[in-house]
Structure formats: structure tokens, C-alpha cells
């Protein structure tokens, strides 16, 4: 009997959480299509004008270009920097390894607001301050370690015997990399890649701190428009929020083909 009650409570909580989430998401969606909406259960009239308004007034073509550029650059650079490091960390045991892992770990557990201000100060001291390059460099700080931790288990799954065998048969290091390691770790690259993609598009704090007026990503531009509250019609901001949400949900759907949902949240139990 107690077990039953317990399970019931569990499902009620999950249901409540789902309803609350659904309410939040639907409310934004509804408001984006509302002509006017003021304290009634549903808006009296629907329109798609706010999307046109948002597109024309919020400089969305440039914002989207920046977002895509930043996201793709961060994915490519993070994978390129992390890939060789993850290989060594998976294969070798060396003095100071624990310390090195701790170093990679810190940018992931220290909140971005805590180190973001000094990072922004440093970046503004360089000629690239406030540019799209600064945004990419800043986002790489947590994403390189993330890529390393995601890639390590994929390298561990590749048996070293394959590399030995290839070497015995006369393969060079470049050949071993191109013909054995790379093909066998493609799933790892995909997993890490989609995780970085979703995280970069929805990452707010660091991008907010280091970006200038011409290098805002979608989520940062969205924040500024909400913050300017009153100046912009709330429906147009919701229209922009809906565009952002659609982007993230599409990316998430793609991501979930490659990763387990639990991987979307950084896990510590294996570190």
C-alpha cells in the first residue's frame, strides 16, 4: 500500500512537471501568434504579423548568421583541439594525469558568471574584443573540456590491438589514424559534435559577457529584447522566442538520434 502511494506521488510530480513545462512553452507559442492578449484564456485574434515585425526590427538575418557561424566554428575547433588530447588521456597513464583532468574539469563546474567577467576583461584588452572571434574563443573554454570528456570513452572502446596489428603490418602513424582510429571514433565525434552544437546555441552567460553589438547570438539578442521591455511589443519578443525555441528543438531532435537524453546534461558520476 505504501509502495503504491509512493509511486502515485512520483507520477503526480512528473505529471506536474510536464504540465508546467507544457504551459510555459505553449504560452510563448500562443503569445507569438496573438494579435492582442490580455488576461483571457485564449487570445481573441491570431496573426503572424509579429514574425515579420521581429524579422525586420530585430536584425534577425545578421543574428542568425552570427549564431550559425559561432556554433559551427565552436564545434569544429573544439573537436580539433579535444580529439588528440582525448586519445592520449584514454590510452596513457602518466604522472600528473589527475591534475590535468582537474584542469579540464574546472571550466565545466565553475559557473560561467564567476570566470566570465575576468575572461571578458581579458578579451576586451585584445584587438578582438567584442567581435565574433571573441565569442568563439570564449565558448571554446567550456566546450573543449566537454568534448574531451565525451570523447575519452569512445577511444577506450577501440582496442589497442588493432593499432598494434596495423603497425606490425607496416602501417604508418598517419595510416593508422586515417584508416583505423578515425573511422572507429566517428560515433564519438558525432556525439560530441551535437552536444557542443546544442550547448553553444543555448549558452547565454559567456556569449553575453564577451559579445559586442555586432556579435550577438540569437539567445543574447533575445535577452536584450526582453530586457528592453516596454519598448518592444511583448508579442514580437515571443515571436523571436518561438524562432529560437524551434531552432533548439530541431537541433535537440537531431541530437537525440545520436545521444541518450541523459547525456544532454553534463554527468559527473563517471568523472
Amino acid at each position: 500500500m505504501r509502495g503504491r502511494l509512493w509511486h502515485l506521488a512520483l507520477y503526480i510530480f512528473v505529471l506536474g512537471f510536464i504540465l508546467n513545462l507544457l504551459g510555459i512553452v505553449t504560452h510563448v507559442t500562443m503569445s507569438a501568434f496573438a494579435k492582442r492578449w490580455f488576461g483571457t484564456p485564449l487570445p481573441p485574434q491570431f496573426t503572424t504579423d509579429w514574425f515579420v515585425y521581429a524579422w525586420n526590427n530585430f536584425d534577425l538575418d545578421r543574428v542568425l548568421t552570427v549564431t550559425v557561424t559561432v556554433a559551427l566554428a565552436v564545434v569544429a575547433l573544439a573537436l580539433a583541439i579535444a580529439y588528440p588530447a582525448a586519445y592520449i588521456l584514454a590510452r596513457r597513464n602518466f604522472r600528473g594525469k589527475a591534475l590535468l583532468l582537474l584542469l579540464y574539469f574546472l571550466p565545466l563546474v565553475i559557473p560561467q558568471m564567476t570566470y566570465g567577467i575576468s575572461l571578458a576583461t581579458t578579451l576586451y584588452g585584445w584587438p578582438i574584443g567584442g567581435t565574433i572571434v571573441a565569442v568563439i574563443l570564449a565558448n571554446l573554454v567550456p566546450m573543449v573540456p566537454l568534448a574531451i570528456f565525451v570523447l575519452i570513452p569512445f577511444f577506450e572502446q577501440v582496442s589497442p590491438n588493432l593499432e598494434w596489428g596495423a603497425q606490425t603490418l607496416g602501417a604508418s602513424r598517419a595510416q593508422i589514424f586515417r584508416r583505423i582510429l578515425l573511422p572507429l571514433t566517428i560515433p564519438g565525434l558525432l556525439t560530441a559534435g551535437v552536444l557542443i552544437l546544442v550547448n553553444t546555441v543555448s549558452n547565454f552567460e559567456l556569449t553575453f559577457l564577451v559579445s559586442g553589438s555586432g556579435s550577438q547570438t540569437l539567445v543574447v539578442a533575445l535577452f536584450y529584447n526582453v530586457f528592453a521591455g516596454g519598448v518592444r511589443p511583448v508579442y514580437s519578443v515571443d515571436a523571436m522566442a518561438l524562432m529560437y525555441m524551434t531552432t533548439v528543438l530541431v537541433l535537440l531532435l537531431i541530437a537525440l538520434r545520436f545521444v541518450r537524453p541523459t547525456q544532454m546534461v553534463f554527468r559527473l558520476d563517471r568523472a
Binding site: 490580455f38 597513464n93 584542469l103 563546474v109 559557473p111 558568471m113 571554446l140 535577452f223 522566442a241 546534461v265
Partner: protein
């Protein structure tokens, strides 16, 4: 490729160093260096600093508008952390044997994290606002006569923090709890222990270390609360958190030295929270018995 086999620590050869170098250099240049530079900068106040001085820290702790942010931030972060960890423990413990539709449920839980804090804040502002659906429902059903004020105050910020931190904490605890050897629980039951005794005497001591980690991480993350404190709170009043104070100094007063000092104080507060949790954890005697189990 002599070094392929795992074993005794050994020196790294040139190739290994070359492989590690880019990422190490990156983290040092873009994370460690700015961090240390921030600490140094915080000790050199004024336009033309001479030597090192604690003037910024003195200024912070003698201005109530500034040092009050520490209390405000704690009053947001601590209750949120307790609620998040308690709820997550309750749920994860109930699901330790696996439940129906686990993948669907975890996907839904992960959704708010992926959507990001800005969208959540916008949605909460609409849904839980005085004219939102939540209040319409409560007023319409006659439960209350006046709409509840759930946004633009502490409650709004905590709602958003909860939705951000809960999935993370839940999934961590679920992984931890489902990794505990189920035979321990079975043995306890065979010996006649009831559900509560099993939890209190067998499971809780085993979960405690994981719980401490979860508590620490949720607290540290909540203590840095920034965008939701602006969008769902009163950033110039009751929810002016320490992150907002640091941001103000940096980007509105352009006083990077003072801003760095506030960022350092924020880091120290988080560290203080961590140390406290580690101390509590050490008082709880435990021997991790992670073994077989789900996953």
C-alpha cells in the same frame, strides 16, 4: 607505440605531448590566465594604480548596497538547492528499479536545460505572471480571489532556478542510486527491515556521498544566478544578486578592477559553500558499495 598498454605512470613521449599541448595551452591561456589576471586586477584599484591594495574589497564590504548582494544571493541559492536536492532524491529513489517510459521522462526532464534559461524565463513570466494561465486557472476555479504574484520577485527567480537545476541533479542522483548494489537492499529486507529502515539504515548512508556532490554543484550553480534574476526578479532591488553587482561594475561603470573584486568574492562564497558541504560529508561515515546494478 610502446605506451599503448595502460599501467604504471610513465613519461610522455613527444607525440603525446604534441597531442595534449593544444588543449592544455587553450585552457591555460583562456581560463587560468584570465582567472589569475582577474585576481591581480582586483588588487589594483583606481585609474593609475600603484602597488597592490585591498581598497576594492574594503569598498565592497563597507557599502550595504554591495555586500547586501551576498545575503540576497544566499537567500535565493540555499532554499532552491535544498528543494532541488530533496525533490530529486525523492524521485530518483523511487525510480531506482527503473520505471515505465524512462527514456520519455528523462527526455522531458532534460528539455528545460536544453531550451536554456532565457526562454524558460520568458515562458515563466508569461505562464506564471499575474495574467498568465496558471493564475487564470486558480482564480477561475475559485481557489483564490486575487492572482498570486509569482514573478518579478524571489519566487520567480527560484522557479526558474528549480527548472534549470532539477533535471541535472535528478539525473545525477538517479545514476548514483541505481548504481548501488541491489542485493544490499534485498538482504536488509530478508532480515526483516521495512521500507523506512532500509532507506534510513542501508540506502541513505550509501547515497550520502552522491548527495553531497549534488548539493555542492547545485549550490555553486545557483549562487551564480544572473539572467533569471534580471528577467524574473527585481534586478535593482530584492533580487540584485552578486553576479548582477559584478556585471554592473564591469559594463555600466567600466570599473574592471572593482568588478573583478566582486567576481573574486563571488568565487570565494561558492568555495565557502563547497568547503562546508565537504566538512558535512566527512562527518557521515560511509563505505561506497557501488557494484552491479542498472545500466
Amino acid at each position: 607505440m610502446r605506451g599503448l598498454r595502460r599501467g604504471e605512470p610513465r613519461e610522455l613521449d613527444l607525440m603525446a605531448v604534441a597531442c595534449l599541448a593544444p588543449s592544455v595551452l587553450y585552457v591555460v591561456l583562456m581560463f587560468v590566465y584570465p582567472f589569475l589576471r582577474g585576481i591581480y586586477l582586483s588588487l589594483r584599484p583606481g585609474k593609475e594604480p600603484v602597488g597592490l591594495s585591498l581598497a576594492n574589497y574594503v569598498a565592497f564590504f563597507s557599502d550595504e548596497w554591495q555586500y547586501g548582494t551576498i545575503w540576497i544571493t544566499f537567500s535565493l541559492a540555499v532554499p532552491t538547492t535544498i528543494v532541488v536536492v530533496a525533490t530529486a532524491l525523492f524521485l530518483a529513489y523511487g525510480m531506482r528499479r527503473g520505471i515505465r517510459m524512462e527514456r520519455t521522462i528523462t527526455t522531458i526532464l532534460v528539455l528545460p536545460v536544453s531550451l536554456g534559461v532565457i526562454l524558460l524565463s520568458i515562458g515563466i513570466q508569461g505562464f506564471y505572471g499575474t495574467r498568465g494561465w496558471f493564475n487564470q486557472l486558480l482564480v477561475g476555479s475559485g481557489l483564490i480571489s486575487e492572482p498570486l504574484r509569482l514573478t518579478n520577485n524571489h519566487t520567480g527567480v527560484m522557479l526558474s532556478l528549480f527548472m534549470q537545476q532539477f533535471p541535472f541533479c535528478f539525473l545525477m542522483l538517479l545514476g548514483y542510486i541505481s548504481g548501488i548494489d541491489p542485493t544490499l537492499e534485498k538482504s536488509a529486507r530478508t532480515l526483516g527491515a521495512g521500507s523506512w529502515t532500509v532507506f534510513r539504515r542501508v540506502m541513505f548512508p550509501l547515497i550520502a556521498p552522491g548527495l553531497a556532490i549534488a548539493f555542492a554543484l547545485v549550490f555553486v550553480m545557483s549562487f551564480a544566478v544572473f539572467p533569471s534574476a534580471i528577467l524574473l526578479g527585481q534586478p535593482a532591488g530584492s533580487t540584485r544578486t552578486i553576479a548582477i553587482a559584478a556585471y554592473h561594475q564591469a559594463f555600466e561603470h567600466y570599473d574592471m578592477s572593482y568588478a573583478s573584486a566582486i567576481a573574486v568574492i563571488m568565487g570565494l562564497c561558492q568555495l565557502a559553500g563547497l568547503v562546508l558541504i565537504v566538512l558535512v560529508r566527512q562527518r557521515m561515515v560511509l563505505a561506497p558499495t557501488m557494484g552491479v546494478g542498472k545500466r
